[in-house]
Symmetry: C2
Subunit: 140 residues, 2 copies
Amino acid sequence: MERIVRKYRGKGFKLTPQRIAILKFLEGNTSHPTAEDIYTEIKKRYPTVSFATVYNTVQVLRDKGELLEITIDPARKHFDPNPAPHHHIMCTGCGRIGDVFVDYSAALNLPDEVTSQFTTTGNHIDFYGVCNACRTKNIN
Amino acid sequence: MERIVRKYRGKGFKLTPQRIAILKFLEGNTSHPTAEDIYTEIKKRYPTVSFATVYNTVQVLRDKGELLEITIDPARKHFDPNPAPHHHIMCTGCGRIGDVFVDYSAALNLPDEVTSQFTTTGNHIDFYGVCNACRTKNIN
DNA sequence: TTACTAACTTAGAATAATTCTATTATAGAA
DNA sequence: TTCTATAATAGAATTATTCTAAGTTAGTAA
Ligand SMILES: [Mn+2]
Ligand SMILES: [Mn+2]
Ligand SMILES: [Zn+2]
Ligand SMILES: [Zn+2]
């Protein structure tokens, strides 16, 4: 089949129909879905799919570095099929999560009291804000 | 009694013994405890204290702007009695969370494709790293 | 002081996200 | 085609957090 199958074939990763459906759903998806979002979508074509399959698949993808786990939402995890380092902005009204493709690393110098305690390996910025739809709604 | 009681008296906030114990535990605490950490500590003096009291109290403090909820750890929430804007660094080995008291806001300019979609209200940076204790341990 | 009551505490149930387990099925290799 | 390691599934288990209903109390005001 298509690109996705080519991309994952022969990587010690069995390409089952459920996995292909999950990979297709995630491919290029910038909505930062939750496990339930993925489950609900895959269930349309595979009505017997289980949450375990969703969680197992995202875990494998995470271990392969193909997917990131986003912690910006205190209520649940969101997943991001774009493993390139980037940041996020969440609407405090509706929870929508947008991408911020800027590398701020050069500006994020840590003070000595931190560098003396930690060897830094990465960073991720959570921005908070209000999306246009929610702002419009609140102008009652 | 002491500072804490003075600070919270007469703010539409009943000062029960359990709450005073929680406030005392949190006062100046930079360990970013979880609800369970707080519960375990308070239980020493109040063996019948419940998780509901811990969660209710941190929720009230959060609503009053006296406490922050930290999302850096995907497994559970951590609480921070320092409501001043600051950032965090978590050790990927042991989970220890340290403070980063630097305001990077001036450097965190967002691109137009984001500002056209969101009105930004805040930011929080998660730094990741390895603490000295864990680094030493890994030099086997 | 005393009495009152809104606010609080508690045990335990409920909910919700995530993980685990045992069984059955199958992708991919030989 | 056969084989087997790996995966899918249903459902139970676990864990974090919230809710509920009943009893208690801090703080107010007479
Ligand atoms: Mn993203
Ligand atoms: Mn802090
Ligand atoms: Zn919104
Ligand atoms: Zn550590």
